[in-house]
Symmetry: none
Subunit: 85 residues, 4 copies
């Protein structure tokens, strides 16, 4: 099976569910500020979804200001303590 935390029957899109899991990891401190989040490839593995779905999740996190992506380097947890949107 895929990941237990993902419900493909849910009205919430899978990419949003993945984003929510990552946000929870950020807010719990499992993913501290300036730490790199897992790579797209490993998120594909972990959640058992297509890469595009993972990219949608990461794009959503980026648009919401939770992370920033540095091409070729990774995606990092943003420091939101100052100047949030």
């Amino acid at each position: 099976m895929a990941a237990p935390e993902i419900d493909h029957e849910s009205p919430t899109p899978v990419y949003r569910q993945i984003a929510a899991v990552i946000i929870a990891d950020i807010e719990s401190g499992t993913l501290p500020v300036n730490r790199r989040i897992p790579s797209e490839a490993s998120l594909v593995q972990r959640f058992g979804v297509a890469r595009e779905t993972v990219r949608n999740a990461v794009r959503f996190l980026r648009e919401e200001g939770h992370v920033c992506t540095v091409p070729q380097r990774g995606t990092y947890v943003r420091d939101r303590s100052k100047g949030e949107d």
Copy 2:
């Protein structure tokens, strides 16, 4: 021809007959709580009716509290065990 369960000669509107079939599926457990009901397209196929008729049936189910519709995601069987209207 259409589906055997639909009687186009009946005084009961077709959309109500379709709604009744779906309600029966819900109450029998064929459609469990929080499960998405079949897509509009498949209901059109199954009952041999126009899209608008299916939409009327679903709107009726929604107004009666049997289902709830989540924008962009589908229509889901509501949990009526807790007694909000």
Copy 3:
């Protein structure tokens, strides 16, 4: 062949080239403010690319503030005369 205006050998990504064509249409007045731009499907046809590539182009236009997308309705040329980024 695809569209003459797209060069798949160019260092500029195809989705950016498509965005540039649409921006040119906006700036020349071919696509006036509040007009809907062509649908994703027709852009796929016109440029001979995958839908994902068209979506990347439209997302880029959206991020740059040239258009706004209304789900299920289309993507519209934004009025940038006031309050641009």
Copy 4:
């Protein structure tokens, strides 16, 4: 073994030998102006050298003005007909 055109015993550095082969391809028209040169990976394959060596060769070509590199897109044969250095 490596490629026949590379002589690891030569006093000429390998990266220079690789650069020379690519320059020959450019001047013979095998690699036309504005065409992307082969990817790093394929040059590694073709010449049987380390990645870093290929990168050195490409950097040399760039510094000598034979090619220009566009971030994220590749390295392209420059048009030298117009005489900027």
